[in-house]
């Protein structure tokens, strides 16, 4: 059986999550922002799978939850990109900084 401690997995997930978060907050390009969000979701998935193995009540729930997350992530990616395209058509840019209609 695996001898890698749980904290290692959590640490990896944490690092990936932080990278994704940083990207989502600082990158200009909307596509990259979406990709960063995918990275964050991945980090969460690692946690879920890790906990499904290492926990007081191990079981498949974590893995199944991960599957659902992946499905939602796929849907999100599709819709997100569709919105992006729609936006791009109105205003030919993908820079997040110029999407500030919320201000008005």
């Amino acid at each position: 059986m695996s001898s890698v401690p749980l904290s290692m997995y959590l640490m990896l997930a944490l690092i990936l999550f932080c990278i994704g978060l940083f990207g989502a907050l600082t990158k200009k390009n909307a596509v990259i922002v979406l990709i960063s969000i995918e990275l964050m979701l991945n980090a969460v998935n690692i946690n879920l799978v890790a906990f499904s193995k290492y926990s007081l009540h191990p079981g498949l729930s974590g893995q199944i939850f991960t599957l659902f997350t992946i499905a939602v992530a796929a849907a999100e990616a599709a819709v997100g990109l569709a919105i992006l395209i729609a936006l791009y058509r109105n205003r030919p840019t993908v820079s997040v900084d110029e999407m500030d209609t919320m201000k008005h």
Partner: protein, 621 residues
Amino acid sequence: MLQNAWLIPLFPLLSFIVLTAFRRHTGRLAAVIGLAATGASLLMALMVFAEQWQGNSFKAEITWLEIGDKIITMGYEVNPLNALMLVIVTLVSFLVHLYSKGYMEGDSRISVFYAYLGLFTFAMLGLVLSPNLLQVYIFWELVGLGSFLLIGYYYFKPEAKAAAKKAFIMTRIGDVGLFIGIILLFWQTGSFEYDEIFKAVANQEISQTMITLTALLVFVGAIGKSGQLPLHTWLPDAMEGPTPVSALIHAATMVAAGVYLVASAFPLFEASQTALTTVAAVGGATAIFAASIGLMQKDIKRVLAYSTVSQLGYMMLALGSAGYTAGIFHLTTHAFFKALLFLAAGSVIHAVHTQNIEEMGGLWKKLRLTGPLFLIGALAISGFPLLSGFFSKDEILAAVYADGRYGLFVLALIAAFMTSFYMFRLFFMVFSGQPRSKQDGVHESGWTMTLPMIVLGVLAVVAGYVNTPWFGTFLNDYLAQGPVELAHEHHGPLWIPIAATTVSLLGILLAYLMYAKKSLSRDWLSRSFPSVSDIIYNKWFVDEAYEATFIKGTKAASCGGTLIDRYIVEGAAEGTVSAVQLLAKSGNKVQDGKVQTYGTVVILGLAVIFAVVALTGGYFS
């Protein structure tokens, strides 16, 4: 009868209520209502006095307020001292009511005047009947209210307004002293009752310092009410009120309340030598100080007012010298002859319509009744032999001499000299010589005005015989029955009355030479010592000094406070507001519509919360 003594103050109260409620409808009836009420009070007071004379005392109380385990009562008490005071107050009040009917004739607000008089009489009688200090304080203030209202009776005159305000505030300063004194006594003895307090003092349950302190604080109250130094300035100004009011309140009754208070709390004072000395010293100083001012005043009522202050100082001096009877005795005689003098002065003013004595003169022939009556009063106050003032003054001088404060004794003698001088200066200037201004239609007043003067004139002559070294000391024996077992009799050496008489006769003589015969120049003093006369003429600049210090100081503090309020307190609030606005503006910048900025702020907030929780360990840990 004694049980029903509580009715005595109620008649004037009733008159006050009726006259206030039916102000519009009473009209000329007002005087009748007032007279009926005070007449009833006078009758009852006489009956009470008669019964009391046989040696009965009475005290009744009801619970007024319960606080915790302490019960504060209200009630009334009849003892020798206050039975006497009852008669004096009701008598003078009745006479003044009668006199006012003539004097105030034609005033449209006559019913208000009588209502105020009723209120005052009620309060004064209540004060006299009070068995405990709290009740004394309550009526003490109400008396002040009556005085305030009557001084301000001519409300449209700015002087009257100022005088009323001054009277209230100056006496209020004294009252606060009394207030503190009463409270301290309560905490020392657990009661407001005279009896309990005296018992505690006698049993030495209170420390000596506390006795002195409370006695002095009570005395501060008396200083305010009786116009003693340094709170005397309101009393001369109070002459802005109608003259009958001056006679009743500012000569005979209210201002004597201070003396009465010290007398009724006498055991407290006697337990502290310091307190007695203070009382005597203040009294003596006031006596000569006020007398000196009286020498140069030009307003007939102001001369009398300073004379009142001076005579009250005399009474205080007597009490301070342990001359209990002497003080009360002088209070009684003074009530009569000073009321007489004021009423006579009112009669003069009524006749000539001026108060300035420089404009009077030669009235002796025109006012055939007022003139002699004024003379009787002046003689009585000067201590002319065989008149009432002679005996009471003699008593005071004997008491002071016996007490051994020879400095004060000399002061008292000088004051006596000044008294007779200024009284006769007044008399000669008003009645002798030729008129100094045009006087048309000067005639004697009607019977309502002269009758009270005659009654008081008679009393001013005979009142002295209640306590003389020759016929017996009735008053002393009478007062000795009271709870205050301190009515000492002082028989000074024979030379004292002789000296006093000589001094006052000298004063009369000097006045005669200066103002009637004019063989001495009237203004040698102002010519030879201009600065001295200037100081005296301006009343020692006391008012000005107060103006410059206390009033200016208070005003400055008030303005300073306003500035603090506006700029510091309000400024702090405004500062907070602008700080918040600044914060809001900078927060506004974050709301730039960009998702990533919002996200950053959210993460920042999360980080802060995490940091706080991690560092402090959380609220519930």
